[in-house]
């Protein structure tokens, strides 16, 4: 893809109530249920479910960041990448200690309703992982 060196991805990281980040990126790395997936400009249209809850983005300015996107999904079409997650957050916005505490609390509170508890744990795990990678 030498002739596409000028190309970039238009990335939007969208949470339910706001757009968390929007900008241009060189590469987006996301883990879907089938494994890690690197998306470069010119990628085929794709709809995938995210697993593990983190997305890594390298922007055109060679900045690198990690975002938490628990329970989200990714859609790629015409060099537009949208990452949708109800509780999307930027990794460096998350307080690492707080995220650890939240995860412990989520683990501890696991008696009420099974499905809800699992969801809380997954969200807490994703936030913690994103915070760790961002540091």
């Amino acid at each position: 893809m030498a002739d596409e060196s000028g190309k970039h991805l238009e990335v939007a990281l969208v949470a339910a109530e706001r757009t968390v980040w929007q900008g241009q990126a060189k590469i987006v790395i996301a883990r879907t249920t089938d494994g890690d997936l690197g998306i470069l400009p010119g990628h085929a249209p794709l709809l995938g479910l995210l697993q593990g809850g983190t997305v890594q983005v390298r922007t055109v300015d060679d900045e690198f960041f990690v975002a938490a996107a628990p329970e989200g999904f990714i859609s790629v079409a015409n060099d537009r990448v949208s990452i949708l997650a109800e509780n999307a957050e930027m990794g460096h916005d998350i307080d690492l200690e707080q995220a650890r505490l939240d995860l412990e609390r989520a683990h501890a509170a696991g008696t009420s309703s099974e499905g809800e508890h699992e969801e809380h744990v997954r969200i807490a795990e994703a936030r913690l992982r994103a915070a760790e990678q961002a540091d």
Binding site: V14, A16, E17, L49, F73, S75, N78, E86
Partner: protein
Amino acid sequence: MPASLRELRERRASVSTIKKLTRAMELIAASRIVKAQQRAQAAGPYARELTRAVSAVATFSNVDHPLTTEKPNPRRAAVLLITSDRGQAGAYSSNVIREGERLNQLLREDEKEIVPFLSGRKGIAYYTFRQREVQQQWSGDSDAPSFARAKEIADALIEAFLTPTDEGGVDEIHIVFTRFVSMLTQRPDVIRLLPLEVVEGEEPPAEDEVLPLYEFEPSAEDVLDALLPKYVASRIQYCMLQAAASELASRQRAMKSATDNAQDLIESLTREFNQARQAQITQEISEIVGGAGALADATAGSE
């Protein structure tokens, strides 16, 4: 004299206090409406992307999902009624409740049993007063609904929909809410939420826009499984945000006319007060004049 001066003065004072209150509520509603609109705008990208994704999956796969399948012979219908938590919003709540009653009537004519779900204290009060059974109710944030609340409602509705009818489930779900048309117009409206109809968001993708041929990870069925509940939650959130903006707009308008009416009342009370005061002065003068005359007559007669 129609009323004593003191009474008039007190009434005028109390009306001007009320005017200050309604004026404050008007201003609060006006400032919140901007926030509500911003919130609706902020939720736009998520809803748009989700709608695109769902249409893409629905277009390129022939999957039968329980949430999109019409049930034969629907017998039980759930109605989610979105009202406000507080009054002072003119006819806002009664309009949407009336629309709900009309829908209930229609459903009853189709011989369907109605299972009410309520959001907002006003609707809850209406149903409680009539001692109707309510399946589930939510209240507390009608003027600034959070996504978490919308998701909670969506989960409850989806669960009811997926439960077999004989075990207390429902066959279809309708939402009654108020659509925010403009600052001046808000219209009560009904949409059928489930089974999902043609995918159509608040901003459907343009007609000539060809959806790309997507690859699905892991598979179209799994993607649809994960997307549809999110889509339902996003639609409910859309309805709640519309309702919140409508509530604030109605409140602002109701409070504006209350303020105007209070001003009119103050003016007419002031006029009445001045008249009464003048009448009293006139009476006192004529009493003094009359008294002086009588005194003069009396002294003239005694001499």
